[in-house]
Structure formats: C-alpha cells, structure tokens
C-alpha cells in the first residue's frame, strides 16, 4: 500500500500534472477555478502562462503540444472561460493534437440550476473530445486525471476535458497518484497485422507508379525516421500534406511536397496518376482529394493508420493496416528489403519531370511587395541561422504560401491549423511553441485578418518572456475570401476589405511592449526581418503586400484535383 498524503482537491490537480511531467500550462483564472489557482499560489513546479483570452490559452497549449510532442494543458474557469476554450478544443480534435483541458465548474449543488457562469461544458464539447469527465467527488480526481492524460496521448491523439466542480477542488483527499488506468473500453491498437504488411510489401514491389501520401499522423506517431527509411529503401516518391509538413525533410529529393487545393501540380499529379497510393497517417481530407470520385482513379490504396475508423471512411482501402505507424513502417521496410528491388524508375523520372515543369511560381510585376517574396525572405533568413526555427501560421492565403515556400527539414517545425482552419491560431500557437522550445526561434507567418483575432496575446508573449517573431502578411483584406470572391463570385468583394488604414501594427506592437517594424518595399524587408529575429523580444514585422496577389496553384472546390489551375503566365514570372 503506497502512502497517501492529505491535501485539497485543488492541490491534487497540480500534483497530478507534476506526476504527468507537465512543465508548462496555459490558462486564465476565474470564479469556479479559483481554488486551483490558489493552489498554484501555494506552489507547483508547473509553470503557468497567463493568457489574455482562453482561446489563446487553448492554442498555446496546442502549439506547445505540437512543438514538443507532449500533452498540452489548458486551464479555464466555468461558463465563458470554458466556452472560450471550445474553438481550441475543436481545433485539437480535427488535427489530433493531444490536449488536457481543465475547467472549473460551479459547485455540485448548483449544477443544473443555471447558476452564475454555469454551462454544461462536457455536453457542449461532447462531439469534439475523445472523452470528458465531470468530477464532483474529489476522491475520483486522481484516477480521472491519470485517465485523461492516458486517453489524450494514446491511440489517435486528441483533446480531453476534465470539468471539476468548485467544491471538489475545495474538498480534502487522501492523495495517491494511481500507477495504472482503469479503462476497460479504451484499447487502442498496439500491434500490426503481419499478413497485411506482407500484402502491402507485395503491392509496392508490383506497382509501376507508387506514391506515399503522408500526413500529420506520421508526426503524432513519432514515425518520421521510419518514414524516411522506407522512402529511401524502396525509392518511393512521397507527397506530404499540410499537417505532415516536416515529417520528411522538405529538402529530401523524394519529398514532392503538398498535394491538395493549393499544393503543387506535380504533387497532385503524382498522387492522381499513381497506381498505388500508400497513405500513412492521413485521412483523405476533401482539401487534398478534391472531387472524390475523380481522385486517384487508377490507384489501389494501402492505408496505414492508428485509427481504424479513418481506414475506408472516405476512400476504400484495398489493403488496410491499422496500428502504430512507427511499428508498421519499420515492418514494411523490412518486408520490402527482403522482397527485392522495386522497379518504378520510369515513374520516378516522370514525377521529377513534372517537378521541373511546374514549380511554384509567382509574378513579380507591380509596385507592391509580393507576399510570397516576404515569406521567401523569412525562409532564407531562417536558413542562415544556427538555431532551429519553428514556424506557425494563421489560416488563409499566407498559410498556403507558407506551406509552399517555407522549408522544414525537421519534424514538429511547422505548426498550423489544418482541419478546423482556425484564423488566429498562429500567434498563440507560436507562444506555446516557444514555451516548449525556448532554444528555437519561433516565427509566426500571420495574416492581418488572423492577427486581429488573437493579437492581444502579444501581451502574454511580452510579459511571460516568450519572444516570437510575427511576420505579418498584411494585404489589408481577408485575402483568401477575397480570392474566392474574385474567382467565383464575380468580383463582388463583400465585407472583406480590412484596409491598410487601421491599426498601425508596428505601433500596436510597441504598445504591447514588443518591437514593431513596418515594411513597404523589398529594400526594407531584409533589414526589418533581421532586426526582428535579433530583437531579443517579441517583434512584429508588418509587411504591406499586394492585395491582388492570389494563391496558386489552385484546385477549385469540387474540381478534380488533377485539374490544377496554375498562376497566370505573365512577364517576369519567377520560379
């Protein structure tokens, strides 16, 4: 019998976090979580980062989780504190980011009475969490916390929520952190089915036009090394989704980058014209497949995933392989090495030819700075640095340009909101990433629309000494919406003009105690970026960009993803 210690529920929550190895959490106090914040004041080894909005705290926890590979922790009070976390929880759900959200709940005798700041947050979040718990009896707390971390990080990762009634935080408990979890219904796969691996290997060796289609699951499954070994062992060309960016080095010769709506023509063609799609930790999202009936019509599919429910959900998999990717890919490489040399050299030459013919490109004409040029400058500066550089983005055109032009050669260096497409993700995610990787420079490529959704977190970055670099691709518009209005809504620019008039982002940055730079042309760009990288504090580089620049290539929504629209030809188009 292990010794127990008498303590309050609130202290027990912190002891649980310490047992789980949590070093940073993100949150905002309020009425129903006050006892736990009082426990923080009594002392804990967990650093608390005070956000300015609970959504920010949630995205910080996500950025932390994505950068570190550990479970992110966010804390908020009941009612509005909890509902403000909902967007971040949904984001983590869509992108399989492991998160434990702890919310205060009104006293148990008030639950169900519409008490002040009461919401049914376990009910509200039910469709967007792996599991949730409402703790009204303090004696359940240790087991619930243990289970929460276990569920968040095992199987397909994702968010969980622990809602703790205020009186449970205040009650006394004989605390002992359990060694094991008691979850008879939670049995994520830990093995792979050998015969399926053998079948996959046979299919790969027999294929004439195989392609690997790798996604965020490779990062989550810690299978990046295994993927690279596989790619090299069998000379397999790979396309890597937005969420997977970094799981295979971008500069690896067999990495053909992102397919999908704003991916390259060569990646889309590699995927669509293949005869064998080897999907790894990816879920055939509509932004990748385009019109589903026209997606990779000549291909058989091998689908590797930890989540059985993803296999066959969108596209039938002739060879399903459910299990941990790390194990599955290692087994597959072994099977391939025993099976002889694959013979798809002609296909490799073909894909390489497409890459040569259809590179990402943009026009340089016009007087205003091109957003792509700003991102390329930041990329080139990052390449010259000795420290690691991590990237986060908001959502929209700038995100797609970042996907196209930023080079990520290390896992967990590109952190973005893929599934939910949450504008405003970039700044708080960068702060969370910085908390996880203080040694790295964290650069947020943001848009002006996104900036104004979560920009107040600059206060957090400044005061918590978590310096980040914000490269603001400021075109004065909700750019991606503008692009759709231009292309598909007869140029009726309905409610998308944010203007270049207000705010003055450099001044706003200064007001938050950060460094601010305004860039209007290419000459100012390099020096401003350099100053921002070296500022030693959070810096915002407001880059005024051409509002008419559109994001290409593009597969229009509902079109076949083989039908890629390229940037219009123009004088001076550059590769």
């Amino acid at each position: 019998m292990t010794k127990t210690t008498k303590m309050l529920g609130s202290d027990a929550i912190l002891r649980c976090l310490e047992h789980e190895g949590v070093d940073v959490m993100f949150g905002i106090p309020g009425g129903a979580i006050l006892p736990t914040y009082d426990a923080i004041a009594r002392g804990t080894t967990v650093r608390h980062v005070l956000a300015r909005h609970e959504q920010g705290a949630g995205h910080m926890a996500e950025g932390y989780a994505r950068a570190s590979g550990k479970v992110g922790v966010a804390m908020a009070t009941s009612g509005p504190g909890a509902t403000n976390l909902v967007t971040a929880i949904a984001d983590a759900w869509m992108d399989s980011t492991p998160l434990v959200c702890i919310t205060g709940q009104v006293r148990s005798d008030l639950i169900g009475t519409d008490a002040f700041q009461e919401v049914d947050i376990t009910g509200i979040t039910m469709p967007i969490v792996k599991h949730s718990w409402l703790v009204q009896d303090v004696r359940e707390l240790p087991a619930v916390m243990k289970a929460a971390f276990h569920v968040a990080r095992t199987g397909r990762q994702g968010p969980v929520l622990v809602d703790v009634a205020k009186d449970a935080q205040e009650a006394e408990i004989d605390f002992r952190y359990p060694d094991d979890v008691d979850l008879p219904g939670w049995k994520p796969p830990t093995k792979v089915h050998r015969p399926q691996i053998a079948e996959a290997a046979r299919a790969i060796l027999a294929a004439e036009r195989p392609v690997i289609y790798a996604g965020g699951g490779v990062l989550n499954g810690d299978a990046c090394d295994e993927l690279r070994t596989l790619v090299e062992a069998a000379d397999l060309p790979a396309v890597v989704t937005l969420m997977g960016k970094g799981c295979l080095p971008d500069s690896h010769p067999l990495n053909y980058g992102a397919p999908g709506m704003h991916g390259s023509k060569y990646a889309n063609w590699a995927l669509n014209k293949s005869d064998l799609v080897i999907a790894v930790g990816t879920r055939f999202d509509d932004r990748v497949t385009g019109k589903l009936s026209a997606f990779a019509p000549g291909a058989r599919v091998i689908h590797f995933d930890i989540d059985a429910a993803e296999v066959g959900k969108i596209r039938h998999a002739e060879i399903p392989v459910v299990g941990p990717l790390k194990l599955a890919l290692a087994e597959l490489t072994k099977a391939l090495r025993e099976g002889g040399k694959p013979g798809h050299d002609a296909w490799l030459r073909q894909v390489e030819e497409w890459r040569r013919l259809f590179p990402y490109r943009y026009g340089k004409s016009g007087t205003m700075l091109k957003p792509q040029a700003a991102i390329e400058a930041a990329r080139d500066l990052a390449a010259s640095r000795t420290e690691d550089v991590l990237w986060t983005t908001g959502v929209g055109q700038h995100q797609m340009w970042a996907m196209q032009y930023v080079v990520c050669d290390k896992p967990r260096s590109f952190i973005t909101s893929g599934g939910l497409g949450t504008m405003g993700y970039g700044i708080p995610a960068a702060i969370g990433a910085k908390a996880a990787r203080p040694d790295a420079t964290v650069v947020c490529i943001d848009g002006d629309g996104c900036f104004q959704m979560t920009g107040q977190e600059l206060a957090t970055a400044a005061l918590e000494r978590l310096p980040i670099v914000v490269v603001l691709i400021n075109n004065g518009w909700l750019g991606m919406v503008r692009q759709w209005q231009e292309m598909f809504y007869a140029e009726r620019f309905s409610e998308t003009h944010l203007t270049h008039q207000v705010p003055d982002y450099a001044q706003l940055a200064e007001a938050y105690g950060c460094a601010g730079f305004t860039v209007r042309d290419e000459e100012e760009l390099e020096s401003a970026l350099e100053a921002a990288f070296d500022a030693g504090r959070t810096a915002v580089v407001d880059v005024h960009c051409d509002p008419e620049e559109k994001c290409f290539p593009m597969v229009p929504a509902g079109a076949a993803s083989v039908d890629v629209l390229e940037a219009p030809d123009e004088e001076g188009a550059i590769a």
Partner: protein
Amino acid sequence: MSTHTISVNLENKPGALARVSQMFSRRGYNIQSLAVGPTEQAGISRLTLRVDCSEHSLEQIEKQIHKLVNVLRVVELRPDDSVERELALITVAVQQDKRGELLALTQATGARVADIGRDAITFEVVGRPDELEAFEELVRPFGVRDLARTGRIGLRRPSAGGRRPTPTARL
C-alpha cells in the same frame, strides 16, 4: 439503405448513453429505436439500436462507437442468427358491447390484458417486432388510443454456430 440492429455494451457511467446517441446525430444517421438496460454484469449496460443506413455507413458507425472510451463492445445482430424481442403496451378503445369480440379476437395472439377500463383495454404484447405490428393491425379497426413500444432488444442465438460474434469494429 437497410435497417440494422446494433448491440453495444457500455460502462454505466454518466454521459455514456449520450455519447453513443450523439455519435449518430453527429454523423448524420437516424436512430429508429433505442433500448437500454442492465446486463448480467454489474455496471455494464446493453444498448440495442435500430438504424437505417448503408453497409458502408454501418461499418463507420461501428468503428466510431467502438472508439468511445465507455464502450466495451459493438456487434451487429443479424436477423438470421439473433433473437429479437420487443414489448408494446396498446390501449384499444372499446365500448362494453364490443368487449367480448375484442377479447376473443386477441386471445389467440398471446397478448395479455394489462388493464380494463370503462371504454378501453390496455394489452401487453411481447414478441418479435413483426408480431407486435400484426397485433396493432388486428386491433386497429377498434381504435388504438395509445401505444408505447420499448424498442427491440436482442441477443445472438446460442444455436447460431459455435463462434462468438466477432465485434465488427475489431480493427
């Protein structure tokens, strides 16, 4: 599209039932009936659902439900190898002079009389869902005043081969 019976064993925990039923509306499937009650094991409930969907959707439903933390087991009960029963309470309007006729008519069906009022009788019918429907048709000419059905429950037949039912969401 066809109708399927799904049997779910789940931990009897707060919100467990809501999590399962939410999964159906969330993924756009309509539940025709849902019955829930205890099993032979303390703390474990069995949920029997009837749902209209394609085979592909059924596989998705089963896999998604299987992922729920409180769910222990998901199986489809196929009509050929399972026993399914349902209980209905039916209140039939009947004047005293027609009472004899109604009771004579229903006697052969195995329905029990649960209550007799001045101008109505409540029958209790247990059987296969098609038997319940046949009974309802039988008494309809008298006037059905009220009807409540439990929704079907089911178990795999012990006589249906030696193998235990394989959870379809076994991957």
